[in-house]
């Protein structure tokens, strides 16, 4: 019962802030609503008993990625310049495409025989074992990827020497 209520609260929060994040004209306000959407996704993870992922979501998405986005906006954008159009005039086409995909996929989603009940919650020890034993190689490769992304971002964003 508690899970149901929390699910609907976080879903409403998530969808409203996601819609505002894609529809607001001011990109800075849109980014603030994107942060709200990240927090709501972390709440959705909590209703699924995925505490580790909820924490990671807050640390990485809410903490790091959104700060990066806000800084990029402040570095590149004239914040209150409203003379330029924020959208490219294809809103109707995009909304139509989305509506068609929505109808088709809801037909599929509701007719497919999904498992009806939830399994046991995953113990943190199992998760740690999977991450550091079964998936040890991808885990290490991820650190290489993050290092490469770090160096690449520094290289791309540094000032050109003349």
């Amino acid at each position: 019962m508690k899970q149901t209520i929390l699910f609907y609260i976080f879903s409403a929060l998530l969808l409203i802030s996601a819609l505002l994040a894609v529809r607001l004209r001011n990109i800075f306000h849109a980014a603030l609503f994107l942060i709200a959407a990240f927090v709501a996704v972390s709440g959705i993870f909590l209703t699924l008993d995925a505490e580790l992922l909820a924490g990671l979501q807050v640390l990485i998405s809410v903490g790091a990625v959104s700060v990066l986005i806000l800084f990029a906006i402040m570095l590149t954008h004239r914040l209150y310049d409203t003379s330029r159009a924020a959208f490219n005039g294809q809103e109707v086409t995009a909304a139509f495409l989305g509506a068609v995909m929505l109808v088709l996929s809801i037909l599929v989603l509701t007719s497919a025989p999904w498992p009806a009940s939830w399994g046991a919650r995953i113990p943190l020890l199992d998760l740690a074992g999977a991450l550091l034993r079964d998936f040890a190689l991808p885990f290490e490769l991820t650190s290489v990827l993050l290092l490469a992304a770090c160096v690449g971002a520094l290289f791309l964003a540094r000032k050109e020497e003349r």
Partner: protein, 105 residues
């Protein structure tokens, strides 16, 4: 009781909202924000499936491990993508995606 289908429909709605943002924004950072929403939708799907009952405990944990990897890849994507946006702004003075047509010749 909320079932798996609820989570799947929620994740799909979030994915479509992100897709709408990617297709309609003119600002490159707005496009990246739409991408982040789509990453989150996929993560909700993975975590919801990892909790459903007809999988073995090992593959249940694998669902959440994949979500962790997607979080890491999303962070790397945001860092490199925003660096490219800053670079584009420095070179052309604009980050509108429909004005970035230098490669057209």
């Amino acid at each position: 009781m909320v079932g798996l289908t609820h989570y799947l429909v929620l994740a799909f709605l979030l994915f479509l909202v992100g897709l709408y943002g990617v297709l309609t924004r003119r600002n490159a950072i707005g496009v990246l924000m739409g991408l982040e929403l789509m990453f989150n939708a996929v993560n909700i799907n993975l975590v919801a499936f990892s909790r459903s009952s007809n999988f073995s405990p090992a593959s249940q944990a694998a669902g959440q491990v994949f979500a962790v990897f997607i979080l890491a890849v999303a962070a790397a994507e945001a860092a490199v993508g925003l660096a490219i946006v800053v670079c584009l702004y420095r070179n052309s003075g604009s980050i509108q995606v429909d004005e970035a047509d230098k490669l057209k010749g």
